[in-house]
């Protein structure tokens, strides 16, 4: 029965020009992921991928890969990326421009801000169901912690902890600030 399973398996899925991104904000950009749910063949390979486009000065919030290493390859434009290790050290703070790749190990925190009108990347991930945890924005790790626990953790008052939990209304992609948008225009 091999010919009914492996030989005819679907091995292709377009993510580069998808009209149905998984994450979309018209002011910030879009992200499309392909996992073994979308393309079952990836289960054998235990790999997945993500394609993203960020508008100028838009930001992908600080996050980490829970269960995968990733290789971010820049396709177009350039962006400023920062990566932090478990000791809180900056292990990368620089530009990633088209044609270059950056390896981000599992659990290292990473954030990106586009410096071009359109920064495009593809990120290869070493798990067929790679998942990320966000460190900022709604439903992030910070907003899942009780306010008092945050206040005690960071030695701040409740009002500051409330701001920390709620000020950013975006989940993944943060559009540029009004001042940055005006300057770009």
């Amino acid at each position: 029965g091999l010919e009914e399973t492996i030989c005819t398996a679907r091995l292709r899925q377009n993510i580069g020009s998808s009209s149905s991104p998984d994450i979309y904000n018209p002011e910030a950009g879009r992200i499309k992921t392909v996992t073994s749910f979308d393309l079952p063949a990836l289960r054998w390979l235990r790999l997945s991928a993500e394609h993203g486009t960020l508008h100028r000065n838009a930001m992908f919030v600080p996050h980490y890969n829970l269960n995968a290493n990733s290789a971010i390859y820049a396709l177009r434009g350039r962006a400023r990326l920062q990566v932090v290790n478990c000791n809180g050290n900056t292990v990368f703070d620089g530009e990633l421009e088209a044609g270059r790749v950056l390896i981000v190990p599992q659990n290292f925190a990473v954030a990106a801000k586009s410096m071009s009108d359109r920064f495009q990347y593809v990120s290869f991930k070493t798990n067929d169901n790679a998942a990320i945890a966000r460190l900022a924005g709604t439903q992030s790790t910070l907003s899942g912690v009780p306010m008092d626990v945050l206040a005690a953790t960071y030695n701040m008052d409740r009002n500051e902890a409330r701001q920390l939990k709620n000020n950013n209304l975006y989940k993944f992609l943060v559009p540029p600030r009004e001042s940055e948008r005006r300057a770009a225009a």
Binding site: G88, Q106, E160
Partner: protein, 320 residues
Amino acid sequence: PHQKQQPQQNECQLEQLNALEPDNRIESEGGIIETWNPNNRQFRCAGVALSRCTLQRNSLRRPFYSNAPQEIFIQQGSGYFGMVFPGCPETFEEPQESEQRESRRIRESVQGESRRIRESEQGEGRRFRDSHQKVNRFREGDLIAVPTGTVFWMYNDQDTPVIAVSLIDTGSFQNQLDEMPRRFYLAGNQEQEFLQYQQQQVRGRGEQRRGREQQENEGGNIFSGFKRDFLEDALNVNRHIVDRLQGRNEDEEKGAIVKVRGGLSFVTPPERQSRHQGGSIIEEDEDEEDEWRRPHHQKSRRGEEEERPCRRGQKCERSN
């Protein structure tokens, strides 16, 4: 399909085993963390790392996540813990003040602190209704399962110090880094407990210069490596809050476990009482699922009392 990482060749060629004590101790304001050297061959063979955390009364272990799954056993004491699962909603919501009869808010009453909190709340006009992910109670004998990369915190609200022994399964397929256990703290600027072993390993490889550099930079949290402007943009908060987040404030020498003045306040269901039955204690706060699975004593045809599991769909004599 997911296989455990195999130990390196000859790692398990052990001629003698030893009972090991922790060989490193890091003191914090609210407790201590002791670790066993994960570079020891016995640990390397098993692909695990071990640590023991002692939390004093009113102390909080600041949130962190690890590069491998963990099991935490509560050797002593009781308290609260929380885990933040990425993408999951905040299902514990504070009610309006008038609706608070059903929920329980824990707060140790220290007058000065309570007054300060009330004042700041009045300043906001009305109290902000917090919501967060599930908070759980733990007690002596509990085993807590912490998935890879999941943020975990714990708090001791009782007089007895909490002692928690935790095993990190660095050999798990979920760990895609090397076999070294790593804690990623979300707060503070303390040394993470397994850092010195990483440095030992680096030095062992003759990479002394890199090891020295690493030592100079040690002691930050996952936010402290980002530039301030990045975090200001990402969180939409001012520089002062970002400084707190990065552990830049002057009094930030408290370590991974901090004392909480005035206690913590968050929503959690009221605790149910344990009841005694036939000399044994039955906890009433077990899951409904467990209640279904608990064997019920029934009389057999021969008149003997038999222990039979009560399954879903079956008619069993049981409480509602």
